[in-house]
C-alpha cells in the first residue's frame, strides 16, 4: 500500500501537471488519439454493418472477422506496423483500427439484424423506400446494440492506446514506459492508475449513452441491462 501512497503522491504533485511532461497533456493525447481511431472505425464499420444487417448478405464475414480478430495479438500488430511505418502515430492508428472495427461492425450488424422483420415489412408496405427503412426504422431500433458495439470498441481502444506509447511516445502509456525504462515503479503505477480511471470514466459515459438509446428505442419496456455489448476483449 506504501507504493500506492507514493504513486498517489506523484499524481497529486503539482509538478506532474506542468510543462511538456504534464500528465494533463498525456490525457488529452490519449483521448484525442482514441477518438480519432473510434471515429474512423465508426465511419467504416457502421455503414458496412448496417448494410450487411439490412441485406442479410455477408453474415459469415462478420462472424469470421469478429472471432478471428480476437485471436490476433494487438502488440504484435503494433510492433510490425511500427517497423514498417516508423515511429509515429500511423502504426498505432492502424493497429487500433484493426482492433476497433470488428466490435463496431458486429454491433451495427447485430442491431439491424435483430429488428423484427415484420416491422420492416410493415414499413415497406406503407411505401417507405429502402433508404427510409434503414434511416427511420432500423437505425433507431438498432441503436442500443449498435452503441453497445461502439462502447465495446471504445473500451478496447482506450485500454490499448496505452500501448501506442511503445512505438510513438504519446498518451498515458508514455509515463508508464518511462517508468519501465527507468525502473521507477511509482511513475509506472501512477500512469496505470490514471489510465484505469480514464477507462472507467469512458465506460460509464458509454453505459449512460447506451441506456438512453435503449429508452428511446423501446420507451414502454424496462430498459434492457447494458449487456448488449459483445463479450470480447483483445486489448491492453
Amino acid at each position: 500500500m506504501n507504493l500506492f501512497a507514493e504513486a498517489l503522491a506523484h499524481l497529486f504533485d503539482p509538478a506532474s501537471w506542468q510543462g511538456t511532461n504534464s500528465l494533463g497533456l498525456r490525457i488529452l493525447e490519449h483521448l484525442g488519439f482514441s477518438r480519432a481511431v473510434l471515429l474512423a472505425a465508426a465511419a467504416i464499420g457502421i455503414p458496412a454493418g448496417v448494410l450487411i444487417g439490412h441485406t442479410g448478405r455477408g453474415r459469415g464475414l462478420v462472424v469470421a472477422l469478429t472471432s478471428g480478430a480476437r485471436a490476433i495479438p494487438t502488440l504484435g500488430l503494433l510492433t510490425i506496423f511500427g517497423l514498417a511505418l516508423g515511429i509515429g502515430l500511423e502504426a498505432p492508428f492502424l493497429a487500433l483500427l484493426v482492433l476497433a472495427l470488428p466490435p463496431v461492425l458486429a454491433g451495427a450488424y447485430a442491431g439491424v439484424e435483430a429488428v423484427d422483420r415484420q416491422v420492416v415489412g410493415a414499413a415497406r408496405a406503407i411505401g417507405m423506400t429502402e433508404r427510409e427503412i434503414v434511416q427511420r426504422v432500423e437505425l433507431p431500433l438498432a441503436a442500443p446494440v449498435l452503441i453497445g458495439g461502439v462502447r465495446s470498441a471504445a473500451l478496447q481502444v482506450i485500454s490499448t492506446a496505452t500501448l501506442a506509447a511503445y512505438v510513438s511516445n504519446t498518451g498515458l502509456g508514455r509515463p508508464i514506459f518511462q517508468g519501465v525504462k527507468a525502473g521507477d515503479y511509482e511513475v509506472m503505477l501512477a500512469g496505470a492508475l490514471l489510465v484505469a480511471l480514464l477507462s472507467l470514466v469512458v465506460e460509464l459515459v458509454f453505459q449512460a449513452i447506451q441506456s438512453a438509446a435503449g429508452r428511446r428505442a423501446e420507451p414502454h419496456t424496462v430498459p434492457a441491462r447494458a449487456s448488449a455489448r459483445a463479450p470480447e476483449r483483445n486489448t491492453a
Binding site: 500500500m1 507504493l3 500506492f4 504513486a7 472471432s67 480476437r70 485471436a71 490476433i72 495479438p73 494487438t74 502488440l75 504484435g76 500488430l77 503494433l78 510492433t79 510490425i80 511500427g82 517497423l83 473500451l155 482506450i158 485500454s159 490499448t160 496505452t162 500501448l163 511503445y166 512505438v167 502509456g173 508508464i176 514506459f177 519501465v180 515503479y185 509506472m188 503505477l189 500512469g191 496505470a192 492508475l193 489510465v195 484505469a196 477507462s199 472507467l200 469512458v202 465506460e203 449487456s227 463479450p231 470480447e232 476483449r233 483483445n234 486489448t235 491492453a236
Partner: protein, 213 residues
C-alpha cells in the same frame, strides 16, 4: 525462415512460457467463474454485485492491471505470477456473466423436477444444473480462452516473457521475422486451445452431438 531456424530454441522456450501463462489462468478463471456464475444466477442481489464488479474490472486495461498487481500482492514486477493473477481476474470478468447466463438458462421446472426426484441441492448441481448449462459454459469458455492467449503477450512490455517477447525484441532490433513468428504462433496457440476446449466439451457432453444430429 532463416531467422526462425537460428532461433528455434528461443522460440520454443517462449512458446512453452506462453502455454503455461495461458492455460493456468484459463483453468483458474473457469473454476472460479462457475460458483460465482451460479450465485449470480440464483440470487438477484449477488447478480447485481458480481456483474457490476466484473464489468468494472473488465474496464481496467490489462497493462494497468499488470502494473498494479505487484503493489497489491507484493510480488516482484516481473514475476510470471503477475500475469497469471491478472489474466485470471480478466478471465473471470469475461466468464462470470457467461456462467450466470448458462445457469440462468436451466428452467425452474427442471430444477423442481430434480428436487421432486429426491436430489439434494449438491447432487442437483452436479447431475442437473451443470450438465444443462454446459453448452453455454463452453461457448463463453472459448471466448475467454482465445482472448487470454492473446492478452498474455501484453506482459512482454513489462518484462514477463511469452511469445510477446518476440514482438518487443523484434521491434527493438528491427527484425520483422521475429514479430511475424510471434503473431502466427499466438494465433495458432489460440486456435489450438480453442479446439481442445471444443473437443473436451464434446467428450464431456456426448448428448450434445446426438441432439445436433
Amino acid at each position: 525462415m532463416n531467422w526462425l531456424s537460428q532461433n528455434l530454441h528461443i522460440v520454443w522456450s517462449l512458446l512453452l512460457d506462453h502455454l503455461w501463462l495461458s492455460i493456468v489462468p484459463i483453468v483458474l478463471a473457469l473454476v472460479i467463474s462457475i460458483p460465482l456464475g451460479w450465485l449470480a444466477a440464483r440470487y438477484p442481489r449477488a447478480r447485481t454485485a458480481l456483474l457490476t464488479g466484473t464489468g468494472l474490472l473488465y474496464a481496467i486495461p490489462s497493462l494497468a492491471l499488470f502494473i498494479m498487481i505487484p503493489a497489491i500482492v507484493g510480488l516482484s514486477a516481473r514475476s510470471p505470477w503477475v500475469a497469471i493473477i491478472g489474466l485470471t481476474l480478466y478471465g473471470c470478468a469475461l466468464m462470470v456473466r457467461g456462467a450466470a447466463d448458462a445457469f440462468g438458462s436451466v428452467s425452474r421446472e427442471t430444477m423442481l423436477a430434480a428436487d421432486a426426484l429426491g436430489h439434494s441441492p449438491w447432487a442437483r448441481f452436479w447431475a442437473v444444473e451443470l450438465p444443462l448449462s454446459g453448452p453455454v459454459l463452453v461457448s463463453s469458455l472459448r471466448v475467454m480462452a482465445v482472448s487470454t492467449v492473446s492478452l498474455v503477450t501484453i506482459g512482454a512490455v513489462i518484462g514477463i516473457s511469452s511469445l510477446g517477447t518476440l514482438f518487443t525484441d523484434g521491434f527493438q532490433r528491427g527484425i520483422d521475422a521475429s514479430i511475424i513468428t510471434g503473431i502466427v504462433l499466438t494465433v495458432v496457440v489460440a486456435f489450438a486451445i480453442d479446439a481442445v476446449v471444443l473437443l473436451l466439451g464434446r467428450l464431456a457432453m456426448p448428448w450434445q452431438a446426438a441432439v445436433r444430429a
